[in-house]
Structures are given as structure tokens and as C-alpha cells.
């Protein structure tokens, strides 16, 4: 007969328990995915094609503009001499490279945003559908540790796709990045990811209460967010559209990817890219905004999870499936 164990409630035991929960929830994402290697093809290679399409759009636009310059048209007037033509040609090539690089960086962020939507936000809903949620609720760890584990596992899984997009950008599309401040770049990247997954944690708790609306909401937050957050074009371009443009841009900036991408583009292409006319704020200011977002979203996630769990229990929706 085994000796009955005493439940430990001291801080050290709680931290250890929750760290185990983080590792435990991240484990199936990392190991489970590796046991089914077909995901590399489906999740890393195939999505590159969609990004390639946007790259070729800019390539096509750039080619036509360059052909027009070579034909003697410098923007809205005829080129005065060979020197002016050469200047326009160099600017056109630099702009095409910067636009393609914007798509490549946006493509890496798409991977994380889709992971946040489908593997963070809708995950508790998914767990409810397949009957795991009640097991999680009975376990003694903090719910945030569960979400933290999902986030760590998700980031690891998604990194492969993100890296493959970057590598394809450099090797296949010949994108040139000019990184000046590596530490600031890393800080922006990781803070943006933390804010993004914090938002995902907050959504996860909201989705707990919803039924199939959750799935449809995630689907709805793909293209409209890619658009309003400027995944495939510098987001400040929206401010140049009179009327609705700035409104869409401001609405989109509540998603951390907006400032994250804007800062990453500045730090990898240089602030002079696009003639310096397509940035919202400087990279440091955007880092501070992202930092504030990360803190706010994580705190909101903590409280909304507790509140909505209680609400879901009260309304009897915590374990109701297929609704």
C-alpha cells in the first residue's frame, strides 16, 4: 500500500507544478507534430506558395515600372537624360526589393498569427469539442500555465514555418536585409510574439463561452487582419488613403502584429526604405507600445479566463459540445 501524500501548497511547489504543466502542454505539440512528419509539407512548404504569389505581384508591378523607365518614362514625365533615368531605375529596384521584403516579413508574421488564432484562441473550444477540457479543469495547475504551454509549443512549431519563409525570401526571391541593431530587432520580435500570444490567451477565454461562432470568428480574423495590420504592405500606406484608411489602420493597430511588423521592417530594411514615408512611429517607440500591449493582454487574459470559466460553468457551457 502506498503512503498517502500531502498536497503541498507552498510557493516553490506551486511554481514547480505550473512549470511542469507548461512543459506538459507544450510537449504534445512539439513531439506529437514530429511523430506526424507530413505537417512539414502541409504547414511549412505549402503556405510558402501563397506568400510567393504576393511576392510575384510586386515583382510584376516592379517589372512593368522598370520597363516604363527603360522606355524613357520617369514617373509622370519623360526622363530628361540618362543620369535621371539611372536614378529612377535604382530607386525602382530598391523599392521593389523593399516591397518584396515586406511581404516576406509579413509572411513570417502570418505563420504566428494563424497559430495564435487556430492553436491558441480556438484551442480551448477545440479541447471542449474533443472532451479534454474537463480533464484540464480538474487538474490542479493554474489555467495560465496551460495556455502558456500551448503558446510555447505553438511558437516552437510555428518557428519552422517562419524560418522557412525567411530563408525562401533570401534564397529564392533574393531579398536583401540590412540589420543594424540586432538586439533591438530581437527585443521587438520576442515582445511582439509575447503580446500576440497574450492576445491569443485572451481570445481563448472568450472562445470558451462560444460555440461554433468561435471557429467562424477565427476564420473572420484572417484576411481582414492581414489587411488592417499591413501584413503584405507597409501599414502606413493606409494613412495615405483618404477617409476610411486611417480608421482601418488605427483599428488594426490593436493587433500587436501591426506595430511588430512596422518595427521589424524598419530594423531590417532601414528607416530610409520606401523613402522613409511609410512608417508609423520609430522602432523604439513601437517596442514600448508592444511592451505595454504584452503586459495588458497577459493581465486581461488572466482575469477574463477566470471570469469566463466561472460564467461558462454557471451557464452549463463548459463541457457542452457541438453547439
Amino acid at each position: 500500500m502506498s503512503t498517502p501524500s500531502v498536497r503541498r501548497t507552498d510557493l516553490r511547489a506551486r511554481i514547480s507544478l505550473n512549470l511542469h504543466a507548461v512543459v506538459g502542454r507544450a510537449y504534445p505539440r512539439v513531439i506529437g507534430a514530429n511523430r506526424e512528419p507530413s505537417w512539414i509539407f502541409f504547414e511549412a512548404f505549402l503556405p510558402l506558395l501563397g506568400i510567393a504569389a504576393y511576392v510575384f505581384v510586386y515583382q510584376a508591378f516592379g517589372d512593368r515600372a522598370i520597363a516604363a523607365i527603360l522606355g524613357g518614362a520617369c514617373a509622370d514625365h519623360a526622363c530628361v537624360d540618362a543620369a535621371e533615368q539611372a536614378v529612377y531605375l535604382a530607386v525602382a529596384k530598391a523599392n521593389t526589393n523593399a516591397l518584396i521584403a515586406s511581404v516576406v516579413l509579413g509572411g513570417t508574421m502570418v505563420a504566428f498569427w494563424l497559430n495564435v488564432l487556430w492553436s491558441m484562441a480556438s484551442q480551448l473550444y477545440w479541447e471542449k469539442e474533443i472532451g479534454n477540457l474537463q480533464l484540464y479543469m480538474m487538474a490542479p495547475m493554474n489555467r495560465m500555465a496551460l495556455l502558456g504551454g500551448m503558446a510555447v509549443g505553438g511558437m516552437f512549431m510555428t518557428s519552422l514555418r517562419a524560418v522557412s519563409t525567411l530563408v525562401a525570401g533570401v534564397v529564392v526571391f533574393g531579398v536583401v536585409f540590412k540589420v543594424v541593431d540586432v538586439f533591438l530587432l530581437l527585443a521587438v520580435f520576442f515582445v511582439a510574439l509575447t503580446a500576440l500570444y497574450g492576445l491569443g490567451m485572451m481570445f481563448a477565454s472568450l472562445y470558451l463561452l462560444w460555440g461554433r461562432e468561435a471557429w467562424n470568428l477565427s476564420a473572420l480574423m484572417e484576411e481582414p487582419i492581414f489587411f488592417s495590420s499591413g501584413f503584405y504592405f507597409p501599414v502606413a500606406g493606409l494613412f495615405r488613403v483618404p477617409g476610411w484608411g486611417p480608421i482601418v489602420a488605427i483599428a488594426g493597430s490593436f493587433v500587436p502584429a501591426t506595430f511588430g511588423l512596422d518595427a521589424l521592417r524598419q530594423l531590417t530594411l532601414g528607416t530610409t526604405a520606401f523613402g522613409g514615408q511609410f512608417w508609423i512611429f520609430d522602432a523604439k517607440t513601437e517596442l514600448y507600445i508592444l511592451l505595454a500591449m504584452a503586459v495588458v493582454f497577459l493581465i486581461l487574459a488572466r482575469y477574463s479566463l477566470a471570469y469566463l470559466e466561472m460564467l461558462a460553468k454557471r451557464e452549463g457551457k463548459l463541457t457542452s459540445r457541438h453547439q
Binding site: A33, S38, L46, P47, F56, A60, N95, N216, F274
Partner: protein
């Protein structure tokens, strides 16, 4: 034949209910339009940024891209509508075993389930095109003379898409829940190689060869020729006349239909052999 038709009708009704009954009809209509219109707006902004940076407008290139992207809504919806059925029934609703053992054709059942997505896609395409013509100066001039040929090409294009979707469905019998990767990736393949957003001439030689081997390339080309005849873009497909393209689409749809039956049956056979018909992969 009667059983097939009944299966199709019931599956189409089921698909429609599953797609739409989670909310009010008006909200569902908004939802169905917001996604594709936002997708079109990404391209509008890409074009706007280009036009500002390069100081030149290129309405032909923009219209080419906009029309192609509008019809691409059919590609994404039809493919997703077919290949997601197996994974949704298997992984999410876990009802595949009950549907599978019922006395119906599972192939026809999948086609029926896809029908509602095609109907919603048709609505979204229409709205996107209307928006483009009314607010973005997209060059569209569909004449009455071209209408019958346009409708025939549309039906043939959709037939090819359905057959490709069933082929993917057959494969998904054997894979884990990769619906999103497939939903993003396979349409992505057509997005790049079929001249949807840019002419084939932008692609390297091998890419152009791949594009010419996919029937959807010709479907997009004939669609543009019929509804936007005034575009000044070198598509590299001028050597094909309209009737030739229609014949090519007809032959392709038949070939893909046969291929879809073969792949579907093979996928089904191997999934049964490996005990994967009703597996769940819930990591």
C-alpha cells in the same frame, strides 16, 4: 441515380445548415462577404503603395489582378468545401463512421456538402466584382454575346475544381488534421502558377511550364478575355482561341473526374486497411 440525387440534395442542405445556422442570416451574409472583400483590399493597398512609391498608375495591371483575385474566391471555397468534409466529419464532429456506413455514395455526399460553399462563393464573387466596378475603376465589360461562353467556362472551371478537391479529399483520408495547411497551400499553388494575380511571363520558364499544365490557368485566362477584353497585358496565352480553351477545359474536367475517383478509392482503401477512417489527431 435517384439515390445519388437524394444524397446530393440532403448533403447540400446539411452543408448549408452547418455553414450558416450558427448565426442570423444577415450576419452570415456579412461574414461571407467580409473575408473575400478584405482579401481584395489587401491587393488594393498593395497597388496603392506601389502607385505612390513609383509615381505611376497601372490600371490594366490592377484590373488584371482584381478580376483574377475575385474569381479565385471560387478556387479557395470549392477546394476547401470538398476536402475539409472528411477531416471535419472525422476529427471535429466525429460522425464519419455513421455517414460512411450508411447506404449512400460518400463521393456524392462530399459533392453535396461542397455545394453550399460554392453558392456562397458565387455571391462573394459577385459582390467583389460589383465593388471593384463601382468604386475602384476596375475594367469589366461583359457583353451579352459573351455571356453563354462565360457561363459554360464557369461550369467547366468549377467541375475541374470539384474533381481536384475530391482528389485532395482522398489523400486527406490518410493524413492528420492538416485542413488549414491544405486550405492555404493548395490554393496557394494555383495562386502562384495559374496567372491569377500576375501574368505567367513574370514566372521563370519552369514556373510557366507548370502553369500551362494546370487547366485552371486557361479558365482564368478565358474568364478575363470574356469579362475584361480591354486589358493591355501580355498573358503569354494569346496563341489559344476561346473555343480551344473551352475544349481543353472539357477534356480536363473529364480527366480529373476519372482521376478523382481513382485517388478517392485508393485513399479510402488504404485508410480502411490502416484503420484510419475514423482516427483523430488531437495535438
Amino acid at each position: 441515380m435517384n439515390t445519388y440525387w437524394r444524397t446530393f440534395k440532403t448533403a447540400a442542405w446539411l452543408g448549408w445548415e452547418m455553414d450558416s445556422n450558427w448565426t442570423e442570416p444577415w450576419l452570415f451574409m456579412v461574414y461571407s462577404v467580409v473575408k473575400p472583400v478584405a482579401g481584395a483590399f489587401i491587393l488594393v493597398l498593395m497597388y496603392t503603395v506601389f502607385a505612390i512609391l513609383f509615381g505611376r498608375a497601372d490600371l490594366s495591371a490592377f484590373s488584371y489582378m482584381y478580376v483574377g483575385n475575385s474569381f479565385f474566391i471560387f478556387v479557395a471555397s470549392t477546394l476547401f468545401g470538398t476536402f475539409q468534409v472528411i477531416q471535419a466529419d472525422r476529427e471535429w464532429y466525429q460522425t464519419i463512421r455513421y455517414v460512411y456506413i450508411s447506404p449512400i455514395s460518400y463521393y456524392v455526399y462530399i459533392l453535396g456538402r461542397a455545394a453550399s460553399k460554392i453558392a456562397v462563393a458565387a455571391f462573394a464573387v459577385l459582390i467583389t466584382l460589383l465593388f471593384g466596378v463601382l468604386f475602384l475603376d476596375v475594367q469589366i465589360h461583359l457583353s451579352l454575346v459573351s455571356l453563354p461562353m462565360f457561363l459554360v467556362s464557369l461550369v467547366l472551371g468549377l467541375a475541374v475544381l470539384l474533381a481536384i478537391g475530391i482528389c485532395l479529399g482522398g489523400i486527406s483520408f490518410l493524413t492528420a488534421k492538416h485542413t488549414h495547411g491544405l486550405a492555404e497551400g493548395i490554393p496557394g499553388l494555383f495562386y502562384v502558377f495559374c496567372g491569377v494575380l500576375f501574368p505567367l511571363s513574370v514566372l521563370p520558364d519552369w514556373g510557366q511550364a507548370v502553369g500551362r499544365a494546370i487547366p485552371l490557368t486557361y479558365w482564368f485566362d478565358i474568364t478575363r478575355r470574356l469579362i475584361s477584353p480591354s486589358l493591355d497585358i501580355d498573358t503569354t496565352l494569346q496563341g489559344y482561341d476561346d473555343l480551344g480553351i473551352l475544349m481543353l477545359l472539357l477534356v480536363s474536367s473529364l480527366a480529373f473526374f476519372v482521376l478523382s475517383i481513382l485517388i478517392f478509392k485508393m485513399g479510402e482503401y488504404f485508410a480502411r486497411k490502416a484503420g484510419k477512417i475514423d482516427m483523430t489527431t488531437s495535438y
